[in-house]
């Protein structure tokens, strides 16, 4: 990101964050996506998020499957390791990486095809395992990279460029994730950085699987009349009743707390998610309520966005396993190898 080359010499010195880096340090290679692609806006939001969170770039591990969306890890945080893997298989790869090194911040980027078609099983099971990661579905309701086939999130009635309507009912990643008991479920819109950035921050801080379904229009194949994932459609049908801000522990001392907070959810490290607006009687910690809200809004033709559900208590892989806090990759060989004496002892029972 972004698609247009920046002047090499910035006009004014750029602001630095808490670890002395500028926003430029969180950018990546130049995007090769179509100008106007929703995915690029998500990339931009990620750049801003990491900058604002003072994240050391090397702490970030960016992984993806295959698709236009899955290309985007190249476009942010060039100082982070990236892994553009194979179609649909990013979740297990992150699961393994997380097992090996629990300290990295894992950002998984996927597409609606990548996650909900070929990758369905892996998506479901990463949720079930509550892998500690941010999982972003850059959801454009279409297969972008292969040029416009329907994806499992294409709505009934949504048409191809040629006007052929989709007739198979869509899978809603939010409903699916909620039904599977995902510990953090949000929906946002690539065009709405104000909403997306606080959600991203909370997702990064969240301990467990944080799923963000980001509606991200494909201007090439699915932004036309008849598409329910177009800029226009989302702008007209978004139900944006939930507004949250994310405050790090340090922010809470320096910054003014929003006076209008209706609910706050404290995270394990002292940071807090403040909900400034919420629908009546809505509690983002109540899964059944969230399911209802989403289902009903959908029945009215609306697309509810916001941080819909969060469960801070669900254990992740390491919690269940009581894994040592030290990343496994740092364990020295002699901690891992029991040595000759133990081998001899062990074999006594083999006689």
């Amino acid at each position: 990101m972004p698609s247009i080359r920046k002047p090499l010499i910035p006009l004014a010195p750029l602001a630095t964050n808490g670890i002395g880096l500028t926003v430029r340090d969180y950018e990546g290679a130049m995007s090769t996506l179509c100008a106007g692609c929703g995915h690029d806006s998500i990339t931009a939001a990620l750049v801003q998020t990491f900058f604002e969170l003072d994240t050391p770039p090397e702490m970030v591990a960016k992984l993806s499957g295959i698709g236009c969306s899955s290309k985007t890890p190249t476009y942010f945080v060039s100082g982070a390791h990236g892994f553009n893997s194979v179609h649909g298989r990013m979740p297990p790869i992150v699961t393994g990486a997380n097992a090996a090194n629990r300290d990295n911040i894992y950002i998984g980027i996927s597409g609606d095809g990548d996650s909900l078609s070929i990758g369905t099983g892996h998506f479901v099971h990463a949720i079930r395992k509550n892998v500690n990661m941010v999982y972003i579905i850059e959801n454009n309701g279409v297969y972008g990279l292969t040029k416009g086939q329907f994806s499992p999130t294409s709505d009934v009635g949504s048409t191809t460029k040629r006007g052929v309507p989709n007739e198979v009912p869509p899978i809603d990643p939010v409903e699916l994730a909620l039904s599977l008991g995902a510990s953090f479920v949000a929906r946002s819109f690539s065009g709405d950085k104000k909403q997306l950035i606080p959600i991203l921050k909370a997702a990064i801080e969240h301990h467990g699987f944080a799923m963000i379904d980001v509606i991200s229009p494909c201007i090439q194949f699915n932004n036309h009349q008849g598409s329910t994932k177009s800029y226009k459609y989302i702008r007209e049908h978004e139900l944006n009743e939930i507004d949250s801000v994310f405050l790090r522990a340090s922010d809470q001392i320096t910054a003014e707390l929003p006076a209008d907070s209706r609910m706050s959810v404290a995270m394990h490290d002292g940071s807090v998610i403040m909900f400034r607006t919420l629908p009546d009687n809505y509690d983002p910690r109540d899964r059944a309520g969230a399911v209802n809200y989403v289902t009903e809004a959908k029945a009215r033709g609306e697309v509810p966005t916001g941080l819909l559900y969060v469960d801070r208590e669900l254990p992740d892989i390491h919690d269940l396993n009581n894994t040592t806090p030290e990343p496994l990759i740092n364990l020295p060989f002699d901690k891992l190898c029991p040595g000759r004496g133990e081998l001899m002892k062990f074999q006594e029972s083999f006689r």
């Binding site: 090397e58 390791h81 992150v94 090996a100 074999q347 006689r351």
Partner: protein, 629 residues
């Protein structure tokens, strides 16, 4: 003249003692016979069979135990075969000196499997159809059910104890040292006096009945030896799991599949034993912490994906599977190959194609593993022949995978993995340090001006890698799509070709690091015999026996792929070589032809692929057939 036996099978008392000079009785065989136990699965016969195996082992006599079990859980025929051979050749026997027929469903097969002059021990409480009787076989009826019904009124216990009972009868028949058995029972049931007593009692019941009713010992005798002093009994999957522990693997991901399941299950158990630490927390409480993660994956694609993720992140990681899993792993094997991520895969082979016979053995994944995935790919393979090599090759596999930054597939099989093998006690050199290959630390990164993932190759064509979380200077983008030597995305022919050409050279370079083939050369041998893996025992015995018969043959067992020059030299230096392997399509032979570029006509085949472990006799016949003038 057959022994006189009770034609009805109903009056066991009438079974006469065996006259030791009966016409079909073979001359006495000492420490050289085979026994087959025919039972029903799910009835707990394993402990009885094991008791016999262990007792023979403890008497210092070379022995093996092979379990031929059905692909179901309960109620179907199952066999356990013990071969005793003082010379140490313990491949599967193809006919049996003693068959213990505890399953009426399979009487016919079981009686057929007794060699002429051998013995059938059966439960004479039940009817034995006269038409099943063989003239040339000694039928030894023991009224197990009747005997045990009295002593063990509870039905589950009765079934279990009846098994120990037939072990007793066999022990008497082969003059097993009862003290050894007694000691074994005491050890096994040290925790429960009740179980100890009933096992002793059951054993004695069978033992005494045989002693009293048959002319024991039969002309098949055990005599104590000293061959097992530094040996253990172990199956390959346990040894593999142990190897993974010793190699320092900290992440395992797997999906259950016969016959590989016990690799991961044993690894998990071993981790509980060796990889748990009790630590004292700040608040003074203690906590048990795990220095490992085992992931039961949703499928095999995920299992290998997890391994690749963990290896990319820097752990030693592995998965274990069998044929169907390998097929499912094809795509990600190609990813790991092309992005140069280490990955250890244990393939415990079973009978294919497709689901095939899940509880039967074959060596039929060789070609698929060598070239797994679309596009130009080649993998490193290791071929252990027994549990001892399962242990050492597991360690080797991790070193190779790290050294060459590529998948390494260890091709074990069901025979090695799940059967009971007597092997040298596993050893470990405490000075061993793992070879993690070229991984740049943060400090090392500081010393270079810029890091490029696929540049700066060493003599083996390996380039340095970096791990996430270490330093942003080492950051690179790992991708299964086209990349150049700098690690950048490319669609340019030159950038692409440079990397894949290096990959081809790297694979070749690995040949020097693969365990050297095992050779057994004989004077004046004109022909060579080449084999791999679990064929070893049968082929070695065949070669030894042909040598005795005046046909000296040179023997070579390959232990990995890519092949070293010594393999090609061996082939070239013989007029003809016969490749012995357990598959239909001569897969090792194919790989040898392709990769050594030898004359195809120099390689002939002896193939065994019915699903039972290969027998010496089949090899002998096959070799004679291929090498006849």
């Amino acid at each position: 003249m057959t022994q006189q036996i009770d034609q009805t099978g109903l009056s066991p008392e009438k079974n006469p003692k065996i006259s030791s000079n009966g016409s079909h009785t073979p001359p006495g065989k000492v420490n050289d016979f085979a026994i087959r136990f025919a039972t029903v699965n799910g009835t707990g016969s394993a402990s009885a069979n094991n008791l016999i195996l262990k007792a023979i082992f403890r008497m210092g006599v070379p022995v093996s135990g092979k379990n031929l079990f059905p692909s179901n859980i309960q109620g179907l025929p199952t066999w356990y075969e013990i071969r005793v051979n003082g010379s140490g050749f313990t491949s599967r026997a193809n006919s049996f000196d003693i068959v213990v027929a505890m399953n009426t469903q399979t009487y016919q097969t079981d009686i057929d499997s007794v060699r002429s002059g051998g013995y059938l021990i059966y439960d004479s409480s039940w009817f034995m159809a006269p038409k099943l009787m063989r003239e040339d076989v000694n039928f030894l009826g023991v009224p197990f059910s009747t005997l045990f019904a009295e002593e063990f009124p509870e039905s589950r216990e009765r079934i279990l104890m009846r098994n120990i009972g037939y072990a007793g009868a066999v022990a008497a028949a082969i003059s097993m040292d009862p003290g050894v058995v007694s000691q074994l029972l005491d050890e096994t049931y040290s925790a429960s006096e009740r179980l100890r007593n009933s096992n002793h009692k059951a054993f004695q019941l069978g033992y005494n009945y045989a002693l009293e009713n048959f002319n024991c010992p039969l002309p098949l005798r055990l005599e104590a030896m000293e061959m097992n002093r530094d040996k253990i009994i172990i199956d390959g999957n346990t040894a593999t799991a142990l190897g993974c522990i010793y190699a320092g693997a900290s992440v395992a991901a797997w999906y259950p599949i016969t016959p590989a399941t016990s690799v991961a299950e044993n690894f998990t158990k071993l981790c509980s034993r060796y990889r748990r630490e009790t630590v004292t927390l700040e608040d003074g409480t203690t906590k048990v912490q795990s220095n490992f993660v085992v992931l039961q994956a949703e499928d095999e694609l995920a299992a290998l994906g997890m391994v690749v993720g963990a290896s990319w992140a820097g752990a030693r990681a592995f998965t274990s599977t069998s044929g169907p899993g390998i097929s499912l792993m094809n795509e990600i094997l190609g990813l790991a190959y092309y992005t140069e991520i280490p990955a250890v895969v244990i393939d415990v082979q079973r009978t294919g194609p497709s689901t095939g016979m899940p509880t039967r053995v074959q060596q039929a994944d060789i070609l698929e593993c060598a070239y797994a995935s679309h596009g130009d790919t080649k993998h490193i393979l290791l071929f252990p022949a027994n549990p001892e090599e399962c242990f050492s090759f597991a360690v080797e596999a991790f070193d190779l995978a790290d050294r060459f930054q590529t998948p390494v597939i260890v091709l074990s099989d069901l025979d090695i993995g799940m059967n009971d093998w007597v092997v040298d006690k596993l050893d470990w050199d405490d000075s061993y340090q793992w070879n993690r290959g070229r991984i740049l630390s943060a400090d090392e990164l500081e010393t270079i001006s810029k890091f490029y993932r696929y540049a700066d190759e060493d003599a083996d064509f390996v380039t340095p890698r970096t791990l996430p979380g270490v330093s942003s200077k080492g950051a690179y983008f790992n991708r299964g799509s086209g990349h150049d030597r700098f690690g950048a995305y490319t669609e340019s022919p030159e950038g692409y070709v440079q990397v894949v050409d290096r990959l081809a050279k790297k694979h070749k370079a690995a040949a020097r690091y693969i365990p050297e083939p095992v050779l057994e050369l004989r004077d004046k041998a004109r022909f060579g015999v080449i084999t791999l893996g679990s064929c070893e025992m049968a082929v070695k015995e065949a070669v030894a026996s042909l040598a005795e018969d005046g046909m000296p043959l040179d023997y070579l067992r390959v232990r990995g792929f890519p092949f070293s020059d010594s393999v090609k030299n061996f082939i070239d230096s013989h007029e003809v070589n016969v490749v012995v392997e357990q598959n239909r399509d001569a897969q090792l032979r194919s790989l040898l032809i392709l990769e050594t570029e030898c004359l195809p006509s120099k390689l002939r085949s002896v193939l065994s692929y019915g699903g039972f472990p290969i027998c010496t006799e089949d090899v002998v016949d096959g070799l004679l057939n291929e090498l006849k003038d």
